[in-house]
Amino acid sequence: MVLALLGAIAAWGLAAWGYQIHTGIGVAGIRRPVFWGLYLVDFVFWIGISHAGTLISAILRLTDANWRKPVTRAAEAITAFALMIGGMFPLVHLGRVWLFYWLFPYPNSRLLWPNFRSPLMWDVTAISTYLTGSLIFLYLPMIPDVAQLAEKATGWRLLLYKVMALGWTGSDREWHALERAMKLMAGIILAVAVSVHSVVAWDFAMSIAPMWHSTIFAPYFVVGAIFSGLAGLIVALNIIRRTMHLESYLLPHHFHNLAKLLLLMSLLWLYFTFAEHLTIWYGNEPKEMNVFGARVSGKFSPEFWIMVFVNFVVPFVLLGIRRLRNITTATIASVGVLIGMWLERYLIIVPTLSMPRLSAGWGRYSPSWVEISITVATFAAMAALYLVFSKLFPIVSVWEFEPHEQEDA
Protein backbone atom coordinates (compact mmCIF):
# COMPACT_ATOMS: atom_id res chain seq x y z
CA MET A 1 0.00 0.00 0.00
CA VAL A 2 2.70 2.41 1.07
CA LEU A 3 4.78 1.17 -1.83
CA ALA A 4 1.97 2.01 -4.23
CA LEU A 5 1.74 5.56 -2.90
CA LEU A 6 5.48 6.06 -3.08
CA GLY A 7 5.52 4.58 -6.52
CA ALA A 8 2.82 6.97 -7.63
CA ILE A 9 4.74 9.99 -6.38
CA ALA A 10 7.91 8.75 -8.04
CA ALA A 11 6.01 8.14 -11.26
CA TRP A 12 4.64 11.69 -11.13
CA GLY A 13 8.19 12.98 -10.87
CA LEU A 14 9.21 10.83 -13.79
CA ALA A 15 6.33 12.21 -15.80
CA ALA A 16 7.39 15.74 -14.92
CA TRP A 17 10.87 14.92 -16.18
CA GLY A 18 9.44 13.52 -19.37
CA TYR A 19 7.45 16.71 -19.83
CA GLN A 20 10.61 18.69 -19.33
CA ILE A 21 12.51 16.68 -21.92
CA HIS A 22 9.68 17.03 -24.40
CA THR A 23 8.92 20.71 -23.95
CA GLY A 24 12.34 22.04 -23.13
CA ILE A 25 14.26 22.65 -19.95
CA GLY A 26 12.65 26.08 -19.78
CA VAL A 27 9.76 24.55 -17.87
CA ALA A 28 12.10 24.58 -14.90
CA GLY A 29 12.43 27.90 -13.11
CA ILE A 30 16.11 28.31 -13.84
CA ARG A 31 17.14 31.39 -15.79
CA ARG A 32 20.11 33.57 -16.46
CA PRO A 33 22.07 34.11 -14.24
CA VAL A 34 20.86 31.30 -11.99
CA PHE A 35 21.74 28.59 -14.48
CA TRP A 36 21.83 25.95 -11.76
CA GLY A 37 18.84 25.58 -9.47
CA LEU A 38 16.97 22.91 -7.61
CA TYR A 39 18.39 20.08 -9.67
CA LEU A 40 21.92 20.82 -8.58
CA VAL A 41 20.76 21.35 -5.01
CA ASP A 42 19.18 17.92 -5.10
CA PHE A 43 22.24 16.44 -6.74
CA VAL A 44 24.59 17.64 -4.03
CA PHE A 45 22.06 16.74 -1.35
CA TRP A 46 21.66 13.13 -2.46
CA ILE A 47 25.34 12.57 -3.02
CA GLY A 48 25.77 13.91 0.48
CA ILE A 49 23.23 11.49 1.90
CA SER A 50 25.20 8.70 0.30
CA HIS A 51 28.02 9.27 2.75
CA ALA A 52 25.95 7.53 5.42
CA GLY A 53 27.20 4.15 4.43
CA THR A 54 30.74 5.22 4.12
CA LEU A 55 30.84 6.67 7.57
CA ILE A 56 29.11 3.88 9.41
CA SER A 57 30.34 0.99 7.42
CA ALA A 58 33.81 1.99 6.41
CA ILE A 59 35.01 4.24 9.17
CA LEU A 60 33.50 2.26 11.99
CA ARG A 61 34.67 -0.98 10.41
CA LEU A 62 38.19 0.34 10.23
CA THR A 63 38.09 1.49 13.83
CA ASP A 64 36.63 -1.86 14.95
CA ALA A 65 33.62 -0.22 16.54
CA ASN A 66 31.43 -3.23 17.08
CA TRP A 67 28.28 -1.31 17.79
CA ARG A 68 28.06 -0.59 14.11
CA LYS A 69 27.20 -4.16 13.20
CA PRO A 70 23.41 -4.14 13.07
CA VAL A 71 23.47 -0.82 11.34
CA THR A 72 25.95 -1.37 8.54
CA ARG A 73 23.74 -2.87 5.90
CA ALA A 74 21.03 -0.28 6.39
CA ALA A 75 23.68 2.38 5.95
CA GLU A 76 25.26 0.76 2.91
CA ALA A 77 21.84 0.43 1.29
CA ILE A 78 21.21 4.12 1.82
CA THR A 79 24.53 4.86 0.15
CA ALA A 80 23.80 2.76 -2.89
CA PHE A 81 20.30 4.11 -3.48
CA ALA A 82 21.16 7.72 -2.69
CA LEU A 83 23.97 7.50 -5.23
CA MET A 84 21.68 6.10 -7.86
CA ILE A 85 19.20 8.88 -7.29
CA GLY A 86 21.83 11.60 -7.00
CA GLY A 87 23.55 10.35 -10.11
CA MET A 88 20.38 10.92 -12.09
CA PHE A 89 20.37 14.64 -11.49
CA PRO A 90 23.25 15.49 -13.80
CA LEU A 91 21.02 13.98 -16.48
CA VAL A 92 17.93 15.83 -15.36
CA HIS A 93 19.62 19.21 -15.49
CA LEU A 94 21.17 18.75 -18.94
CA GLY A 95 19.80 20.98 -21.68
CA ARG A 96 20.07 18.24 -24.29
CA VAL A 97 19.83 15.13 -22.19
CA TRP A 98 19.59 12.81 -25.20
CA LEU A 99 23.24 13.58 -25.84
CA PHE A 100 24.38 12.76 -22.34
CA TYR A 101 26.62 9.98 -23.62
CA TRP A 102 28.97 12.60 -25.03
CA LEU A 103 30.24 12.96 -21.48
CA PHE A 104 31.73 9.48 -21.73
CA PRO A 105 34.94 8.81 -23.64
CA TYR A 106 34.16 6.50 -26.50
CA PRO A 107 35.78 6.26 -29.90
CA ASN A 108 33.69 7.95 -32.56
CA SER A 109 33.98 8.93 -36.18
CA ARG A 110 34.37 12.60 -35.36
CA LEU A 111 37.42 11.82 -33.22
CA LEU A 112 35.91 13.76 -30.31
CA TRP A 113 36.80 13.21 -26.69
CA PRO A 114 35.42 14.81 -23.54
CA ASN A 115 37.30 17.53 -21.73
CA PHE A 116 38.85 15.91 -18.68
CA ARG A 117 39.85 19.30 -17.34
CA SER A 118 36.23 20.04 -16.53
CA PRO A 119 35.03 19.42 -12.97
CA LEU A 120 31.92 17.90 -14.48
CA MET A 121 34.03 15.15 -15.98
CA TRP A 122 35.59 14.66 -12.57
CA ASP A 123 32.00 14.20 -11.36
CA VAL A 124 31.36 11.55 -13.98
CA THR A 125 34.40 9.48 -13.02
CA ALA A 126 34.04 10.04 -9.29
CA ILE A 127 30.39 9.12 -9.09
CA SER A 128 30.78 6.13 -11.38
CA THR A 129 33.63 4.86 -9.24
CA TYR A 130 31.79 5.51 -6.01
CA LEU A 131 28.62 3.86 -7.28
CA THR A 132 30.53 0.79 -8.42
CA GLY A 133 32.39 0.68 -5.14
CA SER A 134 29.37 1.07 -2.90
CA LEU A 135 27.34 -1.49 -4.80
CA ILE A 136 30.17 -3.96 -4.35
CA PHE A 137 30.57 -2.88 -0.74
CA LEU A 138 26.87 -3.49 -0.18
CA TYR A 139 26.84 -6.76 -2.06
CA LEU A 140 29.88 -8.50 -0.58
CA PRO A 141 28.67 -8.91 3.01
CA MET A 142 25.25 -9.86 1.70
CA ILE A 143 26.56 -13.03 0.11
CA PRO A 144 26.51 -15.21 3.24
CA ASP A 145 23.03 -13.97 4.18
CA VAL A 146 21.69 -14.50 0.69
CA ALA A 147 23.10 -18.03 0.68
CA GLN A 148 21.18 -18.68 3.86
CA LEU A 149 18.00 -17.22 2.41
CA ALA A 150 18.38 -19.41 -0.65
CA GLU A 151 18.00 -22.51 1.50
CA LYS A 152 14.41 -21.70 2.39
CA ALA A 153 13.23 -19.70 -0.59
CA THR A 154 10.92 -20.68 -3.39
CA GLY A 155 9.94 -19.36 -6.77
CA TRP A 156 11.63 -16.32 -8.28
CA ARG A 157 13.22 -15.40 -5.00
CA LEU A 158 15.04 -18.73 -4.99
CA LEU A 159 16.53 -17.95 -8.36
CA LEU A 160 17.48 -14.43 -7.25
CA TYR A 161 19.14 -15.60 -4.07
CA LYS A 162 20.93 -18.49 -5.71
CA VAL A 163 22.38 -16.29 -8.39
CA MET A 164 23.44 -13.68 -5.88
CA ALA A 165 24.95 -16.25 -3.53
CA LEU A 166 27.50 -17.31 -6.16
CA GLY A 167 27.59 -20.76 -4.66
CA TRP A 168 28.66 -19.67 -1.19
CA THR A 169 29.25 -22.62 1.09
CA GLY A 170 30.61 -20.98 4.20
CA SER A 171 34.06 -22.52 4.01
CA ASP A 172 36.94 -20.90 5.83
CA ARG A 173 38.62 -20.04 2.56
CA GLU A 174 35.55 -18.08 1.53
CA TRP A 175 35.22 -16.35 4.88
CA HIS A 176 38.87 -15.33 4.92
CA ALA A 177 38.65 -13.95 1.41
CA LEU A 178 35.47 -12.10 2.28
CA GLU A 179 36.94 -10.53 5.40
CA ARG A 180 40.08 -9.50 3.62
CA ALA A 181 38.06 -8.02 0.78
CA MET A 182 35.81 -6.13 3.19
CA LYS A 183 38.75 -4.67 5.01
CA LEU A 184 40.33 -3.48 1.78
CA MET A 185 37.02 -2.19 0.46
CA ALA A 186 36.40 -0.25 3.66
CA GLY A 187 39.65 1.63 3.20
CA ILE A 188 39.14 2.12 -0.52
CA ILE A 189 35.55 3.27 -0.23
CA LEU A 190 36.51 5.76 2.44
CA ALA A 191 39.18 7.24 0.19
CA VAL A 192 36.74 7.36 -2.70
CA ALA A 193 33.94 8.89 -0.64
CA VAL A 194 36.14 11.74 0.54
CA SER A 195 37.18 12.39 -3.03
CA VAL A 196 33.65 12.18 -4.41
CA HIS A 197 32.25 14.88 -2.25
CA SER A 198 35.35 16.97 -2.73
CA VAL A 199 34.81 16.66 -6.46
CA VAL A 200 31.18 17.70 -6.12
CA ALA A 201 32.35 20.66 -4.05
CA TRP A 202 34.87 21.51 -6.72
CA ASP A 203 32.05 21.88 -9.26
CA PHE A 204 31.50 25.12 -7.40
CA ALA A 205 34.88 25.93 -5.96
CA MET A 206 36.69 25.79 -9.31
CA SER A 207 34.42 28.57 -10.51
CA ILE A 208 35.33 32.22 -9.93
CA ALA A 209 31.79 33.19 -8.97
CA PRO A 210 31.71 35.24 -5.76
CA MET A 211 31.62 33.12 -2.62
CA TRP A 212 32.15 29.95 -4.62
CA HIS A 213 35.84 30.24 -5.17
CA SER A 214 36.73 29.11 -1.69
CA THR A 215 39.28 26.56 -0.59
CA ILE A 216 37.10 25.41 2.27
CA PHE A 217 34.50 23.90 -0.04
CA ALA A 218 36.00 20.45 -0.39
CA PRO A 219 36.29 19.62 3.33
CA TYR A 220 33.12 21.60 4.02
CA PHE A 221 31.12 19.43 1.68
CA VAL A 222 32.63 16.20 2.99
CA VAL A 223 31.72 17.18 6.54
CA GLY A 224 28.26 18.26 5.42
CA ALA A 225 27.81 14.99 3.56
CA ILE A 226 28.69 12.85 6.54
CA PHE A 227 26.42 15.07 8.62
CA SER A 228 23.41 14.72 6.34
CA GLY A 229 24.11 11.05 5.67
CA LEU A 230 24.10 10.34 9.38
CA ALA A 231 20.81 12.17 9.76
CA GLY A 232 19.29 10.19 6.91
CA LEU A 233 20.53 7.00 8.50
CA ILE A 234 18.98 7.77 11.87
CA VAL A 235 15.63 8.52 10.26
CA ALA A 236 15.76 5.36 8.15
CA LEU A 237 16.77 3.21 11.10
CA ASN A 238 13.98 4.52 13.27
CA ILE A 239 11.45 3.76 10.56
CA ILE A 240 12.85 0.28 10.00
CA ARG A 241 12.95 -0.40 13.70
CA ARG A 242 9.28 0.32 14.09
CA THR A 243 7.91 -1.13 10.89
CA MET A 244 9.97 -4.31 10.92
CA HIS A 245 9.96 -4.82 14.69
CA LEU A 246 13.70 -4.88 15.06
CA GLU A 247 13.65 -3.52 18.60
CA SER A 248 15.93 -6.27 19.85
CA TYR A 249 18.48 -5.59 17.16
CA LEU A 250 18.48 -1.80 16.94
CA LEU A 251 18.89 -0.80 20.51
CA PRO A 252 18.71 2.58 22.18
CA HIS A 253 22.45 2.58 22.64
CA HIS A 254 22.93 2.37 18.89
CA PHE A 255 20.81 5.48 18.52
CA HIS A 256 22.66 7.14 21.35
CA ASN A 257 25.96 6.53 19.63
CA LEU A 258 24.63 7.73 16.29
CA ALA A 259 23.14 10.77 18.01
CA LYS A 260 26.47 11.59 19.58
CA LEU A 261 28.11 11.32 16.17
CA LEU A 262 25.40 13.58 14.76
CA LEU A 263 26.09 16.13 17.46
CA LEU A 264 29.78 15.96 16.71
CA MET A 265 29.15 16.52 13.01
CA SER A 266 26.82 19.38 13.85
CA LEU A 267 29.57 21.12 15.77
CA LEU A 268 32.01 20.44 12.97
CA TRP A 269 29.54 21.84 10.45
CA LEU A 270 29.06 24.92 12.57
CA TYR A 271 32.82 25.40 12.78
CA PHE A 272 33.24 25.22 9.01
CA THR A 273 30.28 27.50 8.36
CA PHE A 274 31.53 30.04 10.84
CA ALA A 275 35.08 29.96 9.48
CA GLU A 276 33.82 30.46 5.94
CA HIS A 277 31.52 33.32 6.79
CA LEU A 278 33.94 35.09 9.10
CA THR A 279 36.63 35.01 6.42
CA ILE A 280 34.32 36.43 3.78
CA TRP A 281 32.94 39.11 6.04
CA TYR A 282 36.32 40.20 7.31
CA GLY A 283 37.76 40.33 3.81
CA ASN A 284 34.96 42.69 2.82
CA GLU A 285 35.43 42.13 -0.89
CA PRO A 286 32.45 43.92 -2.48
CA LYS A 287 31.27 41.21 -4.86
CA GLU A 288 31.40 38.60 -2.13
CA MET A 289 29.79 40.89 0.41
CA ASN A 290 26.79 41.26 -1.88
CA VAL A 291 26.21 37.54 -1.70
CA PHE A 292 27.06 37.42 1.98
CA GLY A 293 24.59 40.16 2.80
CA ALA A 294 21.87 38.48 0.80
CA ARG A 295 22.45 35.26 2.70
CA VAL A 296 22.71 36.62 6.19
CA SER A 297 20.38 39.60 6.20
CA GLY A 298 18.91 39.97 2.74
CA LYS A 299 16.47 38.02 0.66
CA PHE A 300 17.87 34.64 1.60
CA SER A 301 18.08 35.34 5.31
CA PRO A 302 14.98 33.33 6.32
CA GLU A 303 16.46 30.22 4.77
CA PHE A 304 19.86 30.97 6.25
CA TRP A 305 18.70 31.33 9.82
CA ILE A 306 16.34 28.37 9.61
CA MET A 307 19.32 26.38 8.43
CA VAL A 308 21.47 27.48 11.36
CA PHE A 309 18.64 26.72 13.75
CA VAL A 310 17.96 23.18 12.57
CA ASN A 311 21.55 22.30 11.83
CA PHE A 312 23.03 23.50 15.06
CA VAL A 313 20.63 24.73 17.73
CA VAL A 314 18.19 21.84 17.60
CA PRO A 315 20.79 19.05 17.61
CA PHE A 316 22.80 20.83 20.26
CA VAL A 317 19.87 21.06 22.62
CA LEU A 318 18.18 17.76 21.90
CA LEU A 319 21.31 15.66 21.65
CA GLY A 320 23.72 17.55 23.85
CA ILE A 321 21.61 17.34 26.97
CA ARG A 322 21.79 13.73 27.98
CA ARG A 323 18.37 13.65 29.54
CA LEU A 324 16.80 14.80 26.32
CA ARG A 325 18.65 12.37 24.09
CA ASN A 326 16.60 9.38 23.02
CA ILE A 327 15.48 7.68 19.87
CA THR A 328 12.62 10.09 19.25
CA THR A 329 14.60 13.26 19.77
CA ALA A 330 17.41 11.86 17.68
CA THR A 331 14.94 11.35 14.86
CA ILE A 332 13.49 14.84 15.26
CA ALA A 333 16.97 16.34 15.20
CA SER A 334 17.81 14.26 12.14
CA VAL A 335 14.76 15.39 10.19
CA GLY A 336 15.74 18.93 11.06
CA VAL A 337 19.26 18.30 9.85
CA LEU A 338 18.00 16.90 6.57
CA ILE A 339 15.96 20.05 6.01
CA GLY A 340 18.86 22.19 7.12
CA MET A 341 21.39 20.51 4.87
CA TRP A 342 19.07 20.78 1.88
CA LEU A 343 18.77 24.49 2.65
CA GLU A 344 22.53 24.72 2.96
CA ARG A 345 22.98 23.36 -0.57
CA TYR A 346 20.33 25.80 -1.79
CA LEU A 347 22.09 28.67 -0.06
CA ILE A 348 25.41 27.74 -1.57
CA ILE A 349 24.13 27.57 -5.11
CA VAL A 350 21.38 30.13 -5.57
CA PRO A 351 22.56 33.36 -3.87
CA THR A 352 25.95 33.27 -5.57
CA LEU A 353 24.42 32.71 -8.97
CA SER A 354 21.77 35.36 -8.51
CA MET A 355 24.39 38.00 -7.86
CA PRO A 356 27.21 37.68 -10.36
CA ARG A 357 30.05 40.15 -10.48
CA LEU A 358 28.37 42.57 -12.87
CA SER A 359 25.16 43.76 -11.31
CA ALA A 360 23.51 44.04 -14.70
CA GLY A 361 23.36 40.29 -14.61
CA TRP A 362 21.53 39.92 -11.30
CA GLY A 363 18.32 37.97 -11.18
CA ARG A 364 15.92 36.21 -8.87
CA TYR A 365 15.19 32.50 -9.03
CA SER A 366 12.03 30.71 -8.10
CA PRO A 367 11.62 26.99 -8.74
CA SER A 368 8.80 25.74 -10.92
CA TRP A 369 6.40 22.89 -10.30
CA VAL A 370 8.54 20.62 -12.45
CA GLU A 371 11.57 21.05 -10.24
CA ILE A 372 9.58 20.68 -7.06
CA SER A 373 7.82 17.56 -8.37
CA ILE A 374 11.07 15.92 -9.27
CA THR A 375 12.60 16.83 -5.92
CA VAL A 376 9.71 15.34 -3.99
CA ALA A 377 9.65 12.32 -6.26
CA THR A 378 13.26 11.50 -5.41
CA PHE A 379 12.39 11.25 -1.74
CA ALA A 380 9.54 8.94 -2.61
CA ALA A 381 11.78 6.91 -4.90
CA MET A 382 14.39 6.57 -2.16
CA ALA A 383 11.81 5.36 0.31
CA ALA A 384 10.37 2.94 -2.24
CA LEU A 385 13.74 1.48 -3.18
CA TYR A 386 14.60 1.08 0.47
CA LEU A 387 11.30 -0.60 1.20
CA VAL A 388 11.75 -3.09 -1.61
CA PHE A 389 15.30 -3.82 -0.53
CA SER A 390 14.35 -4.42 3.09
CA LYS A 391 11.63 -6.82 2.00
CA LEU A 392 13.95 -8.88 -0.16
CA PHE A 393 17.06 -8.90 1.98
CA PRO A 394 17.70 -8.82 5.72
CA ILE A 395 18.35 -5.23 6.65
CA VAL A 396 20.32 -6.29 9.67
CA SER A 397 23.26 -8.38 8.68
CA VAL A 398 22.55 -11.83 10.05
CA TRP A 399 26.04 -13.28 10.04
CA GLU A 400 27.61 -10.23 11.61
CA PHE A 401 25.28 -9.77 14.46
CA GLU A 402 23.47 -11.64 17.19
CA PRO A 403 20.30 -10.21 18.75
CA HIS A 404 20.35 -9.02 22.32
CA GLU A 405 17.64 -9.03 24.92
CA GLN A 406 15.72 -5.80 24.68
CA GLU A 407 17.57 -3.30 26.79
CA ASP A 408 15.75 -0.90 28.97
CA ALA A 409 16.09 2.55 27.54
Binding site: I25, L103, R117
Partner: protein, 234 residues
Protein backbone atom coordinates in the same frame (compact mmCIF):
# COMPACT_ATOMS: atom_id res chain seq x y z
CA UNK B 1 48.55 30.85 -52.46
CA UNK B 2 48.12 34.60 -52.85
CA UNK B 3 49.14 37.17 -50.31
CA UNK B 4 47.38 35.97 -47.23
CA UNK B 5 48.33 37.09 -43.80
CA UNK B 6 50.88 34.57 -42.60
CA UNK B 7 50.50 35.42 -38.93
CA UNK B 8 47.13 34.41 -37.54
CA UNK B 9 44.67 37.12 -36.75
CA UNK B 10 43.72 38.14 -33.28
CA UNK B 11 40.32 39.75 -33.34
CA UNK B 12 39.59 42.49 -30.85
CA UNK B 13 37.26 45.37 -30.29
CA UNK B 14 37.53 48.86 -28.88
CA UNK B 15 34.52 50.69 -27.50
CA UNK B 16 34.74 54.39 -26.78
CA UNK B 17 32.59 55.02 -23.73
CA UNK B 18 32.95 58.74 -24.10
CA UNK B 19 31.15 58.51 -27.44
CA UNK B 20 28.53 55.93 -26.52
CA UNK B 21 25.08 57.47 -26.21
CA UNK B 22 23.36 54.35 -24.97
CA UNK B 23 21.07 54.26 -27.99
CA UNK B 24 21.23 50.42 -28.22
CA UNK B 25 21.42 50.36 -32.00
CA UNK B 26 24.14 47.75 -31.48
CA UNK B 27 21.69 45.56 -29.56
CA UNK B 28 19.10 45.77 -32.30
CA UNK B 29 21.66 45.11 -35.02
CA UNK B 30 22.99 42.07 -33.20
CA UNK B 31 19.48 40.68 -32.93
CA UNK B 32 18.93 41.07 -36.63
CA UNK B 33 22.32 39.74 -37.69
CA UNK B 34 22.51 36.70 -35.43
CA UNK B 35 18.93 35.45 -35.47
CA UNK B 36 18.47 36.08 -31.78
CA UNK B 37 15.16 34.93 -30.43
CA UNK B 38 12.78 37.64 -29.35
CA UNK B 39 11.26 37.01 -25.95
CA UNK B 40 7.71 37.71 -24.96
CA UNK B 41 6.95 39.75 -21.87
CA UNK B 42 6.58 36.69 -19.68
CA UNK B 43 9.96 35.20 -20.62
CA UNK B 44 11.66 38.54 -20.28
CA UNK B 45 10.21 38.93 -16.81
CA UNK B 46 11.61 35.51 -16.01
CA UNK B 47 15.03 36.70 -17.06
CA UNK B 48 15.15 34.68 -20.23
CA UNK B 49 15.62 37.50 -22.72
CA UNK B 50 18.67 37.02 -24.92
CA UNK B 51 20.90 39.97 -25.75
CA UNK B 52 24.35 39.00 -26.89
CA UNK B 53 25.33 42.62 -26.46
CA UNK B 54 23.62 44.69 -23.81
CA UNK B 55 24.09 48.26 -22.68
CA UNK B 56 24.70 48.52 -18.94
CA UNK B 57 23.63 51.74 -17.36
CA UNK B 58 25.33 53.11 -14.26
CA UNK B 59 23.75 56.03 -12.50
CA UNK B 60 25.75 58.52 -10.50
CA UNK B 61 24.41 61.21 -8.24
CA UNK B 62 20.98 62.14 -6.98
CA UNK B 63 18.12 63.56 -9.00
CA UNK B 64 18.28 66.13 -10.63
CA UNK B 65 22.05 65.92 -10.87
CA UNK B 66 22.06 62.39 -12.21
CA UNK B 67 24.69 61.30 -14.64
CA UNK B 68 24.35 58.11 -16.58
CA UNK B 69 27.23 56.12 -17.95
CA UNK B 70 26.64 53.56 -20.65
CA UNK B 71 28.76 50.51 -21.23
CA UNK B 72 27.97 48.02 -23.99
CA UNK B 73 28.91 44.59 -22.69
CA UNK B 74 29.41 41.66 -25.02
CA UNK B 75 31.46 38.52 -24.89
CA UNK B 76 34.96 39.70 -24.15
CA UNK B 77 36.55 36.74 -26.01
CA UNK B 78 38.91 36.29 -23.09
CA UNK B 79 42.29 34.78 -23.80
CA UNK B 80 42.09 32.96 -20.50
CA UNK B 81 38.39 32.46 -20.51
CA UNK B 82 36.97 30.94 -17.34
CA UNK B 83 34.12 29.49 -19.39
CA UNK B 84 36.38 27.27 -21.47
CA UNK B 85 38.00 24.74 -19.14
CA UNK B 86 34.74 23.91 -17.42
CA UNK B 87 32.84 22.65 -20.44
CA UNK B 88 32.88 18.85 -20.23
CA UNK B 89 32.41 18.33 -23.96
CA UNK B 90 34.67 21.02 -25.46
CA UNK B 91 31.67 22.93 -26.78
CA UNK B 92 33.57 26.11 -26.04
CA UNK B 93 37.23 26.45 -26.76
CA UNK B 94 39.76 28.95 -27.96
CA UNK B 95 40.52 28.95 -31.64
CA UNK B 96 43.83 30.14 -33.03
CA UNK B 97 42.41 33.53 -34.01
CA UNK B 98 41.74 34.27 -30.39
CA UNK B 99 38.00 33.78 -30.58
CA UNK B 100 36.15 32.00 -27.81
CA UNK B 101 34.20 29.65 -30.02
CA UNK B 102 30.83 28.20 -29.03
CA UNK B 103 30.02 25.03 -30.95
CA UNK B 104 26.25 24.73 -30.88
CA UNK B 105 26.18 21.19 -32.15
CA UNK B 106 28.41 19.94 -29.39
CA UNK B 107 26.76 21.66 -26.44
CA UNK B 108 24.82 19.30 -24.18
CA UNK B 109 23.59 22.10 -21.94
CA UNK B 110 25.31 21.67 -18.59
CA UNK B 111 25.48 25.47 -18.34
CA UNK B 112 28.64 25.51 -16.26
CA UNK B 113 30.15 28.03 -18.69
CA UNK B 114 27.30 30.40 -17.99
CA UNK B 115 27.95 30.18 -14.28
CA UNK B 116 31.63 30.80 -14.67
CA UNK B 117 31.46 33.83 -16.93
CA UNK B 118 32.14 36.87 -14.74
CA UNK B 119 30.64 39.21 -17.32
CA UNK B 120 27.29 37.36 -17.49
CA UNK B 121 27.40 37.39 -21.28
CA UNK B 122 26.33 33.82 -21.89
CA UNK B 123 22.78 32.93 -22.74
CA UNK B 124 20.93 29.68 -22.80
CA UNK B 125 18.16 28.51 -25.10
CA UNK B 126 15.54 27.27 -22.68
CA UNK B 127 13.18 26.22 -25.46
CA UNK B 128 13.35 25.80 -29.18
CA UNK B 129 13.02 29.34 -30.48
CA UNK B 130 9.80 30.49 -32.03
CA UNK B 131 9.30 33.45 -34.31
CA UNK B 132 5.82 34.70 -35.04
CA UNK B 133 5.02 34.77 -38.74
CA UNK B 134 6.44 36.34 -40.88
CA UNK B 135 9.49 37.25 -38.78
CA UNK B 136 11.21 33.99 -39.61
CA UNK B 137 11.63 35.28 -43.15
CA UNK B 138 14.18 37.85 -42.04
CA UNK B 139 16.63 35.31 -40.65
CA UNK B 140 20.25 35.73 -41.64
CA UNK B 141 21.08 32.62 -43.69
CA UNK B 142 24.71 32.73 -42.58
CA UNK B 143 23.87 32.10 -38.94
CA UNK B 144 22.43 28.85 -37.62
CA UNK B 145 19.31 28.74 -35.50
CA UNK B 146 20.14 27.32 -32.09
CA UNK B 147 17.81 24.66 -30.74
CA UNK B 148 16.67 24.44 -27.14
CA UNK B 149 19.27 23.18 -24.69
CA UNK B 150 22.25 24.97 -26.19
CA UNK B 151 24.36 27.87 -24.88
CA UNK B 152 25.08 30.85 -27.06
CA UNK B 153 26.87 34.15 -26.88
CA UNK B 154 28.45 36.83 -28.99
CA UNK B 155 30.75 35.33 -31.64
CA UNK B 156 32.29 38.59 -32.89
CA UNK B 157 30.09 37.92 -35.94
CA UNK B 158 32.27 35.01 -36.94
CA UNK B 159 30.13 34.59 -40.07
CA UNK B 160 31.23 38.03 -41.24
CA UNK B 161 34.86 37.27 -40.40
CA UNK B 162 34.66 34.08 -42.44
CA UNK B 163 32.95 35.80 -45.35
CA UNK B 164 35.52 38.59 -45.43
CA UNK B 165 38.37 36.09 -45.36
CA UNK B 166 36.76 34.10 -48.16
CA UNK B 167 36.18 37.22 -50.23
CA UNK B 168 39.76 38.34 -49.74
CA UNK B 169 41.10 34.94 -50.72
CA UNK B 170 38.83 34.82 -53.75
CA UNK B 171 40.05 38.20 -54.85
CA UNK B 172 43.62 37.18 -54.18
CA UNK B 173 44.36 39.94 -51.70
CA UNK B 174 45.11 40.23 -48.00
CA UNK B 175 42.52 41.35 -45.52
CA UNK B 176 42.55 45.06 -44.86
CA UNK B 177 41.64 46.78 -41.67
CA UNK B 178 38.00 47.76 -41.96
CA UNK B 179 37.07 44.81 -44.21
CA UNK B 180 35.28 43.20 -41.32
CA UNK B 181 32.61 45.02 -39.43
CA UNK B 182 30.62 43.21 -36.84
CA UNK B 183 26.95 44.08 -36.79
CA UNK B 184 27.30 46.18 -33.67
CA UNK B 185 30.32 48.19 -34.83
CA UNK B 186 28.67 48.72 -38.18
CA UNK B 187 25.48 50.07 -36.72
CA UNK B 188 26.82 52.41 -34.05
CA UNK B 189 25.74 55.95 -35.02
CA UNK B 190 28.33 57.54 -32.76
CA UNK B 191 31.09 55.40 -34.30
CA UNK B 192 32.02 54.40 -30.81
CA UNK B 193 32.84 50.77 -31.63
CA UNK B 194 35.76 49.56 -33.65
CA UNK B 195 36.55 45.97 -34.64
CA UNK B 196 39.78 44.70 -36.09
CA UNK B 197 42.90 42.62 -35.91
CA UNK B 198 44.98 43.16 -32.80
CA UNK B 199 47.87 41.37 -34.48
CA UNK B 200 48.02 44.09 -37.12
CA UNK B 201 49.94 46.93 -35.44
CA UNK B 202 48.54 49.45 -37.90
CA UNK B 203 44.91 48.60 -37.40
CA UNK B 204 42.64 51.13 -35.81
CA UNK B 205 41.71 48.81 -32.98
CA UNK B 206 45.36 48.15 -32.14
CA UNK B 207 46.07 51.85 -31.95
CA UNK B 208 43.05 52.44 -29.77
CA UNK B 209 43.96 49.54 -27.53
CA UNK B 210 47.30 51.16 -26.85
CA UNK B 211 45.73 54.51 -26.06
CA UNK B 212 46.05 56.02 -22.62
CA UNK B 213 42.29 55.83 -22.23
CA UNK B 214 42.11 52.08 -22.79
CA UNK B 215 40.84 49.94 -19.92
CA UNK B 216 39.43 46.46 -19.63
CA UNK B 217 36.43 45.20 -17.76
CA UNK B 218 37.18 43.16 -14.64
CA UNK B 219 40.82 43.23 -15.63
CA UNK B 220 41.98 42.11 -12.19
CA UNK B 221 40.40 38.70 -12.74
CA UNK B 222 43.09 37.88 -15.24
CA UNK B 223 40.71 36.76 -17.95
CA UNK B 224 42.65 38.79 -20.55
CA UNK B 225 39.62 40.10 -22.43
CA UNK B 226 39.98 41.45 -25.94
CA UNK B 227 37.46 44.24 -25.68
CA UNK B 228 39.02 47.58 -24.74
CA UNK B 229 36.92 50.27 -23.23
CA UNK B 230 38.15 53.81 -23.78
CA UNK B 231 37.23 56.30 -21.16
CA UNK B 232 38.70 59.42 -19.73
CA UNK B 233 40.52 58.62 -16.53
CA UNK B 234 38.85 60.44 -13.66
Amino acid sequence: MSEQNKTPHRWGMAIDLDRCTGCQACVAACHAENNLSVSDAESAAKGRAVHWIRVDRYYEGEFPDVRVKYRPVLCQQCDEAPCEPVCPVYATYHNDEGLNVQVYNRCVGTRYCGNNCPYSVRFFNWFDPVWTEPLQLQHNPDVSIREGGVMEKCTFCVQRITRAKDDARAEGRALKDGDIQTACTQSCPAEAMVFGDLNDPESWVSLLAKSARATQLLEDLGTKPKVFYLERAK
